[in-house]
Subunit: 280 residues, 2 copies
């Protein structure tokens, strides 16, 4: 689905994809910043563990967010599509100040939640200002065009990526995660070759993109975020490629951002951001 319309006078909430395996014990700066955006001591965070099949996926985050100062944390699973219509669960989405999706399988999220009132309400609440984030599969689901699965390797190949419709909080970014750790540049490029309208962001583990209401993202965490802007792409051979054929792509713009650096979607410019400020 496309992002919900932001009402006049409102600001869309933050969108926070995390590349997976974020630091949870020693230096949980990504999750701490998420709690701060959710309202800090007034935060009421809803954790959705649907992507995972591990029984404690949700409760682990519940405990962490509590330790990081959130006022209340609820874990609400959606095991069936029927759950996406459940008034009690919808009421919990309605009163949350932030929503967090755990990792697992993003196709579980899209196939269980897609088209349900719960998915519609999450989009509407984000448009009305609340923060929505997730890690790994929970990051992938956030955008309109979701990387469902794909191959490894740096080279884009015709069949190296499978896209599916995601939750659609943003239609402007294509999000990939475990990016360096699983060697996923090729599949992100293949997705951009299909249709170069979007900006690809590849999130390393323990690294997040905090995407603000103004569509400027700032990096947090210990790794990097690879931003691939295909806006100036002059040529790709995607239409003529098939199977495992490598795809030619000319004129991509690439930025490698670390914590503090920013990318502004409106102007498509990257900036050292806090990195430069730190130096002065």
């Amino acid at each position: 689905m496309c992002p919900s319309k932001v009402a006049q006078g409102d600001e869309r909430g933050w969108i926070v994809p995390i590349g997976g395996a974020e630091n949870k014990d020693g230096d949980p700066r990504i999750l701490a910043r998420f709690v701060a955006l959710a309202g800090g001591p007034r935060a009421e965070i809803l954790v959705i563990p649907t992507a995972s099949q591990l029984r404690d996926a949700g409760s682990r985050y519940g405990q962490l967010f509590g330790e990081l100062g959130a006022q209340r944390v609820e874990v609400v699973d959606f095991q069936t599509r029927h759950d996406g219509h459940d008034p009690e669960r919808l009421a919990r989405i309605e009163r949350a100040s932030a929503i967090f999706f755990t990792g697992g399988n993003q196709l579980r999220l899209s196939s269980v939640l897609g088209g349900t009132p719960a998915a519609q309400l999450i989009r509407a609440r984000n448009a009305a200002g609340i923060t929505v984030g997730g890690s790994s599969a929970g990051a992938a689901i956030l955008s309109e065009h979701m990387i469902a699965y794909g191959g490894e390797g740096a080279c884009p190949r015709a069949d190296s990526v499978h896209l599916a419709p995601g939750l659609g909080l943003t239609n402007r970014f294509l999000i990939d995660q475990h990016f360096r750790q699983r060697d996923r540049l090729g599949r992100l490029l293949a997705a951009l070759a299909y249709n170069p309208f979007a900006v690809g962001i590849g999130l390393d583990e323990d690294t997040a993109a905090f995407i603000g209401p103004d569509n400027t993202l700032e990096v947090e965490g210990s790794g990097s975020v690879t931003v691939v802007d295909a806006g100036a792409l002059g040529f790709s051979s995607m239409a003529d490629a098939g199977g495992r054929d490598p795809v030619c792509m000319l004129g991509l713009t690439l930025h490698v951002l670390i914590a503090g650096a920013t990318f502004d979607l409106a102007t498509r410019t990257a900036s050292p951001g806090a990195l430069l400020a730190d130096r002065t």
Copy 2:
């Protein structure tokens, strides 16, 4: 990209996907209705043959639309991504009363036009009221989530469909074409299993869906349009399926429409439409 915003007081233009191989000589009722929507004797139709690699793909339609009474028909090819920035081509999009995409390879359309000013302008012009249609690949490109390619067969399988971002005139329909002739029910179902938010429409050859500004579609032509509504889907096994595994889907609603019958997206109801009116 998401559909452009329709300005207050405006109505979005018609969206006209055709299943391919439409009748061009004996009874070209689909193309005649397209010309009528384009303004009939005042129609200025822009034909975009980019999907095709056949030299005469555009001129064939140019001649047909002329014979069917259009005032002016121009064929404008976009061979490179640079062409999508060309002021002369943009001016032609600006003055057209309708735009028509020929068949060929939909990935050529998305990979050449995606993210260019031409794609943005076509969305904006459709939002401002002009009709946009296409046949075969030119039908596939019209929606936000485009079936790029896939396998044959009636059973949905985990890997039976590849989606890519399309032109994005509508985000509510998933469009497939050559539907009965190439046995594509399975791949349309697989796409809906990924995320059941959309309504699938499978267009037979010589058959079109005329999607009005109110998102009610009416069928025209000699075959049928298969509408698959996954809104009430109770369960799918997509998240657990892999490779060639068949996918279980419970609770789909199916309508088979022929010329005159309608489907209203807002209420998700099918109606015999003109078929019933003919009888009285």
